[in-house]
Point group: C2
DNA sequence: CTGAAAGCGCTAACAA
DNA sequence: TTGTTAGCGCTTTCAG
């Protein structure tokens, strides 16, 4: 593993000259450059990025705190984020926490230890202070944390559209999978708005508390879906995230329910899985690509100490007609 | 951002003592340790990993060359790999190449520049030399590269089981999506073995060349599935990877074909999407978790200069009964 | 048990 | 245009 010194020796120049030649910083005679090029070739010299970053005081790495990699919504989100970060010359480090606060804290330490230039927070299971007390560029994608910029879908709009659709198609008793108590979670707002509007419209709403495990594991979502459809045989409408909606659709089919005639299903997220079944699910679609683009833009502004126009950005969602509503 | 010097000054000791105390290397009096602990707390001192790695001559980061993040097989694979790497104290850097050789080369450079301690290669679209000439720990997951260790499913076994199943259920004309010309790709072996056995069994085999885009994009897979089912109305069996198999299933349903009575579908990979439709797909299942575990084990041996027992590890696959065959 | 000194591999300021 | 010098922030001998 040749270093800059060996190159310098072979080219008969000083290490700093080699450095300048290789970085295009400062003046180096064309002749000298040529000698250096040869020495570099001869020794197969490759500069150590690690060390360079030491000077630039940056790593070129962005940590992405992810609670999950497999859920369709997340995998699409991470995929777009990776693409966008790469476009800006950054590498993305997946920090999969599996919802474990200890692992999450571990990765925040990594940020604090300067291994990352900034962090995008998808998972957030720790008390606010963990994020606010860190003097580093941080952006949140869902959890509302004082002082930390947020980029998220406009879930209130999502809740409105969903309620509107449920009313339009004449539902009388609707169930949603949500967590109305999660005040600090942007995505939980859809459920709150949905509930309020449904009540205004005079439609029954049942809110079943969503459980993290079921958001992620299809088998668990299937089990829950079955329990719910058995417990509430009178339901004529369901709103749930993609994976759970898929579970409801499959379960409804297995139980001989007619979708959409007898039971409407509205999928929230609108990722590719809505197309996977024999019928396409109607969905509230999040513009995940836009979320990723804006998230990276905001984070880079934080990193480069540029002013932020808005501390909170809400990306519009839209309705996509399918066969289930 | 306090450094070790400030801590040392505040604790009235030398920086080297602080270093030893913090790393538990060498002797430090309990009293001194306590003083240092206090100084650390007072200054909110966090050691810079970046610099530490400079000494340890390692980064703790493994690059994972991925052609794709979204395809179910890959997302499951990356997820398990991340888990396994984390278990061993390594971070995983997703190097998404999108099948672009230039981006792939870029990431190999990153490895060469010591930003990664090693690399796991899922995508490999460059000539062999790109990998073989690199004097770094590299492990391949599918592409067969001289001198580079391989961990992959036993796709020959996969092909055998598939052929066996097709025969058992009485198929007469079967289509597979494969690429028989891809000699250097481990996963392409299933198609070769499948073809040979089907011929032995006296069953017609049509091999339609698989196209990368269709492996990844469901819409494209859907289009291809439609084309194929129209072109070959006499087919009574299909073998294809999960995503394409799902597309075939959906298309068959739309075209009014009876699955499995009239058309058998065998999914290859066996990820969670095989459960997503109204009927569960029968599948050749890859043990992705085992692949990840073994891959990391081998890579760590390479990194630590431990001897390898086998240069090539093939993980058994198995058949999972579903409703489509 | 502790501190001084010498780097890790490279860059940047300055002098020549 | 080039070389010298002094570090980046930490670790690791090696004397003491």
């Amino acid at each position: 593993m040749a270093g800059i010194r060996e190159v310098a020796r072979l080219a008969q120049v000083a290490p700093s000259t080699v450095s300048r030649a290789l970085n295009g910083s400062g003046y180096v005679a064309e002749e000298t450059k040529e000698k250096i090029r040869q020495a570099v070739a001869e020794l197969d010299y490759v500069p150590n990025q690690w060390i360079r970053n030491l000077y630039r005081k940056k790593t070129g790495i962005i940590g992405v705190l992810a609670p999950e990699l497999l859920h369709p919504y997340f995998s699409v989100l991470w995929s777009y984020l990776e693409e966008e970060l790469h476009r800006h010359g950054y590498n993305m480090m997946i920090c999969n926490t599996r919802g474990n606060p200890l692992i999450e804290r571990e990765y925040l330490d990594t940020l604090e230890r300067n291994l990352f230039d900034g962090m995008i927070i998808g998972a957030a299971f720790l008390p606010d202070e963990n994020y606010t007390e860190m003097d580093k560029p941080i952006l949140s994608l869902d959890r509302i944390i004082p002082g930390i910029p947020l980029v998220s879908s406009d879930h209130e709009q999502g809740g409105r559209i969903a309620a509107e659709k449920m009313r339009e198609c004449g539902c009388r008793k609707v169930l949603q999978l949500s967590d109305l108590s999660a005040k600090k979670i942007s995505s939980a707002r859809s459920g709150v708005v949905f509930t309020r509007l449904m009540q205004e419209y005079g439609i029954d709403v049942v809110t079943e508390k969503i459980v993290w495990d079921e958001v992620i594991h299809y088998e668990k979502a299937m089990k829950r879906a079955k329990d719910i459809l058995v417990s509430y045989p009178e339901l004529d409408g369901i709103m749930a995230n993609d994976l759970c909606a898929a579970a409801f659709l499959k379960t409804a089919y297995e139980m001989g329910r007619q979708v959409p005639e007898d039971l409407k299903i509205l999928s929230y997220d609108g990722t590719f899985v809505t197309d996977f079944n024999f019928c396409t699910m109607s969905a509230i679609v999040q513009d995940v690509e836009k979320i990723a683009v804006d998230a990276v833009e905001v984070l880079l502004k934080l990193i480069n100490h540029q002013p932020l126009v808005k501390k909170e950005i809400y990306i519009p969602v839209y309705f996509k007609k399918g066969d289930t509503l």
